[in-house]
Point group: C2
């Protein structure tokens, strides 16, 4: 059917070994022979069968990505960051998504076996035991936004705590004392860390966190919309709201607009992520910028490192710094403050 290395060898009057050497640039081949082979190969439109190559070298030149979901800009940005680095090496990208189902995560992991040289996993739900159990032994893995106590895995996390701390500290500095929080899903690691950072900022300023000012959201616009309405109903409503992501903050803006509540005069609003649209809502949204493609890019680079150095590879836990972006939605446009941030590097989680 398709032309094989043997066809090329026959046509060029050489052995398969020589053709292979030409294609992999391994071992010496006389210049004239090399030319003849490449000429024949392109004439026959030969291209090596990657399955055969994988079988014999045990390398796939492919990285696998397992995501909890593919919904929303966040994931597409991660993939974009990953793809860019992967493509730079002429490697390939196998993506899969687990819908946050434990069984599917495990199925996804197993399915990757033998198809990839390394794996990037983002799955807030998975504990390390399950992970280890379903992982082909020795397959390099980098975990994204996962909570793992153990240091046996490479991890990269967004500095959720620092970012949330910074944005709440900013609101406090504007004079707000009652700050509503619209949280993300309880089970989500990012959401928990953002809540934690926000509370810490309050405490640090001598303001006691109050349960009535914390309403539960799920990262969707709708839940932000509802959340802020719930806060407005309080006897003593907050003067500012921090939503755990931009989508919810935008939902909140929309609800406030419907109610005729002026932002930022009557209510300051802030979000988290700095999605592209954030600067175009009205008023433009104060938020925390995270370079999501960078998150993906770092993950792949780390993975490549692990693949190259093999078992000797030293695991690291890394935090990706964030940056406070001040826009009109919470007034006080004095200056775009840079996040108090966290250093990047070997780092306890």
């Amino acid at each position: 059917m398709a032309t094989t290395i043997r066809d090329v060898a026959r046509e060029a009057g050489v052995s398969v070994a020589t053709v292979s050497r030409v294609f992999n640039d391994s071992g010496p081949v006389r210049e004239e022979t090399r030319r003849r082979i490449t000429e024949v190969a392109s004439r026959l439109r030969y291209s090596p069968n990657s399955a055969a190559r994988t079988l014999s070298t045990r390398r796939t030149q492919t990285v696998g990505v397992l995501l909890p979901d593919l919904y929303g800009e966040f994931f597409s940005e991660v993939i974009r960051g990953i793809d860019q680095v992967v493509q730079q090496r002429s490697w390939h990208l196998l993506v899969s998504c687990s819908h946050n189902e434990r069984s599917e995560i495990e199925a996804g992991l197993r399915a990757m076996r033998g198809r990839v040289d390394g794996l990037i996993v983002m799955s807030p739900d998975l504990d390390e035991h399950r992970l280890a159990r379903n992982l082909p032994d020795g397959l390099p893995v980098v975990l994204l936004n996962c909570e793992v106590a153990d240091r046996v895995f490479d991890t990269i996390n967004i500095d959720n705590r620092g970012g949330a701390h910074a944005v709440v500290a900013h609101l406090l500095k504007q004079g707000h004392r009652r700050i509503g929080l619209i949280t993300g899903p309880e089970r989500n690691h990012d959401a928990r860390e953002r809540l934690r950072g926000a509370r810490e900022a309050l405490v640090a300023a001598g303001v006691a966190p109050s349960p009535e000012l914390e309403v539960a959201g799920d990262f969707s616009e709708l839940s932000g919309h509802r959340g802020v309405l719930a806060l407005l109903k309080l006897d003593d409503p907050p003067t500012a709201v921090f939503a755990a992501n931009d989508s919810m903050a935008i939902g909140a803006l929309s609800a406030l607009g419907e109610r005729g509540v002026h932002v930022p005069e009557q209510m300051a609003v802030a979000g988290f992520d700095d999605i592209p649209i954030a600067r175009y809502v009205s008023p433009p949204l104060t938020t925390v910028r995270v370079s999501i493609p960078e998150l993906g890019g770092r993950a792949v680079r780390r993975l490549f490192g692990a693949i190259e150095s093999g078992a000797a590879h030293a695991r690291r836990q890394e935090l990706l710094p964030t940056e406070l972006v001040v826009r009109r939605s919470c007034g006080g446009l004095s200056r775009a403050t840079v996040d108090r941030g966290s250093d990047v590097g070997t780092h306890a989680n």
Copy 2:
């Protein structure tokens, strides 16, 4: 290293053929033998090497997706739609992105060779000759949002023309006579078709399209922002604006807000795509809904059909219908009209 089918066979006291039969459910195996084999296999944590399997069956159980870019919600939604169907079959997804570089598209196509059983390509730039030339012969392909005159490829396109026609017709019905158009990039097929549909609607209503009312955008929020400002500067500004996608419409809303122009009273605004955020901007955006995941899903299903039926497969050109979604940004909330639409099916492009 890893356990192979031979290890399992030895341990279970059978031949490799029998183990293979158990794993593929091909050919008869005595129940007791089957049980013993599965037991041994799971004890040894055996899982078949997919490269070897691919080599011998010539099937990869993988579909390749080649996109022009990975930026924005559009692409992530396409991938999501594709992934869902792919995963339903326990197949795999190899994604790659060409950055709209011709050379990268071709490299991407060649790189897929031997790694996938079929290909979904979205690349407005590529002409069919180049495509055919770089395609492994006989590899099934489905083209998304591509303009190809020839009927040799399966294609699926959004009904851009119908959607744009519907939204402009709606504005006309509201009494608007001067309607500004913020177009998408010239080279983009979707953008051209949307512009065409909009003009046709104007002509159909006896309104002559006017070049001064058409400003060029590039699908970004920023260009929508600028576009509407340009329209406001006209001696006789329009009373309504149709932006060729939602991002630009949102940019326009933001500019109008800054200028104190009331929407929809002083200026009606409409977009295209119905991205999730569209209903949460203020005022909520009138737009054209396209089920992007559906676009991806259909593409895969068609691809599966092509893979199964082999060379006998009949090519089809399909249009994905759109739906007008009327929200506050252009007043007239009488009812959500359903698009005049196009039928789906065998269909000239």
